[in-house]
């Protein structure tokens, strides 16, 4: 049986119903809310992906430039690591986290807990997924395409950040070595002589051979580095430079560079 409205309903109630029946207030359809929710979920997914992508890019960038390994050289390395972090990027990521938090605040699971808890969880999840994404070949492939000029929009972004050189951290590949000098070839093809000093640190041991990827900590002057620290790096951390990159006359160039000093 249909529930009849109360015959003694108030004037206020009549006014509300009158506005509804006159069309001043129209009920929005269910599809409108389904569409709105869908768009909102897409917005959340997009922002989440952007966050994970940017964090994974930072992981990739730190590995690519060798900065990731700087803390293994001790306090000075930690200092270099902290000062070399892309802080503007990190600040931007922080803003995205806040924005994502605001988007998610309409859900009970988020608003029922203090802001900091949910921010922390968002941050942790982004770090985890960012690390996982950084381990794939996505950024590596983008960088290759960017270096060939084949990556639209974000090509300069990859070239700019990944091509950045730091004065005290130098990744490269060993092309030749003696007891006291290691020659490395960097991504630009430069041959750099690394001089081992008595206080040079070897955080993971001295066993280095030709072809190894290494990260050197020390100040570079022209083509010489007085090494404060040397560490080999596993291939999965740094992309193996294709064999063709190590030039045939690398040893001769190495000898020349050593003589220059």
């Amino acid at each position: 049986m249909k529930n009849m409205p109360n015959t003694s309903q108030s004037k206020f109630c009549d006014q509300v119903l009158e506005k509804i029946s006159s069309g001043k207030a129209k009920m929005r359809s269910k599809s409108y809310f389904i569409l709105r929710t869908t768009l909102f979920l897409f917005e959340i997914l997009f922002v989440s992906f952007l966050l994970v992508y940017l964090i994974s890019f930072i992981f990739f960038l730190l590995h690519e430039t060798g900065i990731w390994f700087a803390p293994s050289f001790g306090l000075r390395g930690v200092q270099i690591f902290l000062t070399s972090l892309p802080w503007v990027f990190i600040f931007f990521i922080f803003l995205i986290i806040i924005f994502l938090e605001i988007l998610l605040k309409r859900y009970t699971m988020v608003y029922k807990h203090p802001f900091l808890y949910s921010m922390f969880i968002i941050f942790l999840m982004s770090l985890l997924f960012g690390a996982l994404l950084a381990n794939t070949s996505l950024h590596r492939n983008f960088l290759r395409q960017a270096e060939k000029g084949e990556l639209p929009l974000v090509g300069s972004f990859y070239r700019g950040f990944c091509g950045k050189r730091f004065s005290e951290v130098h990744p490269g590949r060993v092309v030749d070595f003696t007891q006291n000098v290691i020659c490395i070839q960097n991504k630009n093809g430069d041959i750099v002589a690394v001089f081992i000093e008595p206080n040079t640190k070897f955080p993971v041991g001295r066993h280095i051979q030709k072809g190894d990827h290494v990260v050197i900590m020390g100040n570079r002057e022209q083509n010489h580095i007085l090494a404060m620290g040397i560490r080999p790096v596993r291939e999965e951390s740094l992309e193996p430079i294709e064999d063709e990159v190590i030039s045939d006359d690398a040893k001769e160039k190495c000898d020349l560079v050593v003589k220059e000093k």
């Binding site: 509300v16 029946s21 009920m27 929005r28 409108y32 809310f33 009970t108 608003y111």
Partner: protein, 187 residues
Amino acid sequence: MPEKTDEIIAQEVQAGDTESFGILVSRYEEKMKRYSRRFLFGYEESQDVVQEVFLKAYIHIQSFDTKQKFSSWLYRIAHNEFINAIKKKGKEALPFFDPDVLFPHPVAKEDTEDEVYRKEIRKMLDDCLSQINPKYREILVLYYFEEMDYKEISEVVHIPTSTVGVRLKRGKDTLKKIYTKKHEKYA
């Protein structure tokens, strides 16, 4: 015949029975008016705002999940409309960001206050409403006049339950100070 629940009536409205919406309006008219009179104390257009609340509820009725409580949903709409009214008027400052919701607070147990104490607070509230910050005023009104618990208030205002407890305590402390000061002045 047992009275239909709000949620069943809302379902009927969703199905197209506009007349049934009148039942919901009748049921909540006085509550909404009371809530608005106290939260929007001194705002002449508070009754117009209440009308807006019901119209918004009708417009958005299809978004209401009938498995949830209708009253919480309606109070949430009312909260949003009242906040908009305060912002529009610009008479009272509403902070963009509230540090209360940033940090965790120790979970305060809901006080089982006796009715005499509650009456006393209501009396003080009626006397000093306009002088209390809207942030605390709303919580006090919802707790002492609308007789909601922490969980229900949390759902209306969208803040953590612990923050409800903190605001309630601060609101009561502020209220007592204002009331004491006011009555000392006239003593």
